[in-house]
């Protein structure tokens, strides 16, 4: 429990008879990108849902900057600095890309009583929205209706919206899902760029991307942490190989065999 900005203890979530997340202890540090790997159904998205408050935990606790936030609502968690993106694109389809980000930025300066002011004239919020769009590589797409953006651009918008809420902790659920090679490369660049100012939890299937950006990797299987450590350590781990490549795994390199699941 050193200087972790976000830390869980014994975090668990039960769905009926299934332990989707079982006694997970994980720590996020500012300036570090912590990737979570695991086969489908390993509990990665459930873990993010527990951290963001979308799901209540069955057991265990979450501490943020030393405070227990286990029972905090999702909107409170967002306001104290925990932002998340979604695996299935979750944007305001009918609004422009700019308005998507503007609403996100407005959540930091909501001013609900300023009913005589035009929200579009509130410069600090609009500037923050434009900055987030530019950071995610969407500077040219501001006036586009979100539903008309390409799939990759919608994924970028998803990230731009979280960035616009100026979070300290970023929980990213498969930001590369369904992206083309070029889009994926840009997203990896973006992740590298924003890591120094954030504590990032990245759930991702793309092994190349994960090994390119992660400072720490946790491998989950059946809701439990199988192995956790630096990328080199994970790559060398026999337990991880066994879980990923089958019982009698040879010496095959994880990054070659497992990419683009």
């Amino acid at each position: 429990m050193s200087d972790a900005i976000l830390a869980t203890t014994d975090l668990s979530r039960r769905f009926g008879g299934l332990m989707a997340v079982a006694s997970v202890a994980i720590e996020l540090h500012r300036g570090k990108l912590h990737a979570v790997l695991g086969p489908n159904g390993a509990g990665k998205t459930t873990l993010i849902n527990l951290l963001s408050g979308d799901l209540p935990s069955s057991r265990g606790s979450i501490r943020y900057k030393g405070d227990d936030i286990t029972r905090l609502s999702p909107d409170r968690r967002s306001r104290i600095g925990i932002g998340r993106s979604y695996q299935k694109t979750n944007i305001f389809q009918a609004f422009t890309a700019f308005e998507n980000c503007r609403l996100a930025a407005q959540s930091r300066a909501p001013r609900p009583l300023a009913i005589a002011t035009d929200a579009l004239r509130h410069t600090p919020v609009c500037d923050a929205a434009r900055k987030a769009l530019a950071a995610a590589g969407l500077a040219e797409r501001g006036e586009w209706i979100a539903s008309t953006l390409s799939h990759g651009e919608q994924r970028q918008l998803e990230i731009a919206m979280v960035l616009a809420t100026a979070p300290e902790v970023l929980l990213l659920d498969e930001p590369l899902a369904g992206m083309g090679a070029e889009e994926a490369r840009r997203m990896v660049e973006l992740l590298k760029k924003i890591t120094p100012e954030h504590a990032i939890l990245l759930v991702e299937h793309d092994m190349d991307a994960v090994f390119a950006v992660a400072d720490v990797i946790t491998v989950m299987v059946n809701g439990q942490v199988l192995e956790s450590g630096e990328p080199a350590q994970i790559r060398a781990s026999p337990a991880v190989r066994a879980a990923y490549l089958g019982e009698d795994a040879g010496a095959g390199d994880l990054t070659e065999r497992g990419s683009r699941a």
Binding site: R76, S78, N90, H122
Partner: protein, 320 residues
């Protein structure tokens, strides 16, 4: 100048000139329609901009009307400003209290719970001494609009009532337009579009929906007050579920999620009602058929006609 602004000014000019040419009967009818337009505008804030389909909005209309009827002294005229302020406040408070329960639920449950509360309100006025039963309350005097002892206008005069209601309609329209452009209004539209994401972006969605419900209730109370003021009585029928249904139909006719649509819908609804009841006693059948046809062929409501026409002719993209 933008086209929508020109349309607004033309409509306003027509409405302002109408009492000069129309017979008293029509002046009073249009007054009634403008009151319904305020009512429809208040519901549009919920249905069209917050995504809350209330099937019990007449409750707050009725509360506004009863507020005047109950507050008016028996043997002298009530003060317009005091009773109006009180009516809006009471209706808003009633909506706030009901809202604390109903905005927690969604979809079909929200529809049913708002209806249930409205029925409760109905029977409170219908079955208690307080509401004086099914006949309601008649007032002996119209409210007086005095400021510093000077009577500004005479609410016994239909033309004066007409202009007061016209100003009220314009005020509510402009208020809602400003509100919807404000950060608060934009957040409501975000909630309508994707409530889940709004919560994860850090918005206390419950409070926003509750505020919207209370504001809509207060504005409905405003309309109800004006109705009681115009006709001199309040009765339980003002709160009946027919009323809640009619105002929803006005929105569907005019176009949900458009302030113009709410006003156009109120006019269209009453015009069709008058027209069809002139043709047949079974006017509701024709009205129903009209609404079904409209939903099928013009799902955006009457307010979308201009845009659709434009697009068909010159292939312009759909704008707001």
């Amino acid at each position: 100048m933008k086209r929508s602004k020109i349309a607004l000014l033309i409509a306003l000019a027509l409405l302002a000139l109408f009492p000069l040419v129309g017979a008293t009967f029509y002046t009073e009818l249009v007054t009634k329609v403008m009151i319904l337009a305020i009512f429809a505008l208040s519901l549009d804030l919920l249905v069209g901009y917050t995504g809350l389909v209330s099937f019990g909005h007449a409750a707050y209309f009725g509360v506004g009307a009863y507020a005047l009827a109950l507050l008016a002294p028996k043997y002298e005229a009530a003060n317009l400003w005091l009773t109006l302020g009180a009516a809006i406040g009471i209706a808003g408070l009633a909506a706030l209290l009901v809202g604390m329960f109903v905005v927690r639920v969604k979809g079909i449950y929200f529809i049913m719970v708002t209806l249930a509360f409205a029925q409760m309100f109905y029977f409170v006025f219908h079955d208690t001494k307080f509401g004086r039963g099914s006949d309601g309350i008649s007032m002996n005097f119209k409210p007086e609009a005095t400021i510093g002892g000077v009577n500004l206008f005479d609410l016994g005069n239909p033309t004066h009532v007409y202009y007061l209601v016209l100003v009220a309609l314009l005020a509510v329209f402009l208020f809602l337009r400003a509100l919807l452009r404000s950060p608060f209004g934009r957040a409501l539209q975000g909630i309508r579009s994707n409530e889940h994401r709004m919560r994860s972006l850090g918005y206390p969605v419950y409070r926003y929906k509750l505020a919207s419900f209370a504001i809509a209730g207060a504005l409905a109370g405003f309309a109800g007050y004006l109705s009681a003021m115009q006709f001199g009585f309040a009765n339980p029928e003002l709160l009946s579920w027919h009323q809640s249904g009619n105002v929803l139909l006005m929105l569907i006719l005019g176009g949900i999620g458009s302030l113009y649509g709410a006003v156009i819908g109120a006019f269209a609804f009453v015009a069709l009602q008058e027209l069809y009841s002139y043709v047949t006693t079974h006017w509701q059948l024709l009205l129903g058929a009209t609404i079904i046809a409209l939903v099928i062929f013009l799902p955006g409501g009457l307010a979308s006609v201009m845009g659709r026409f434009k697009r068909t002719l010159v292939g312009e993209p759909e704008d707001e």
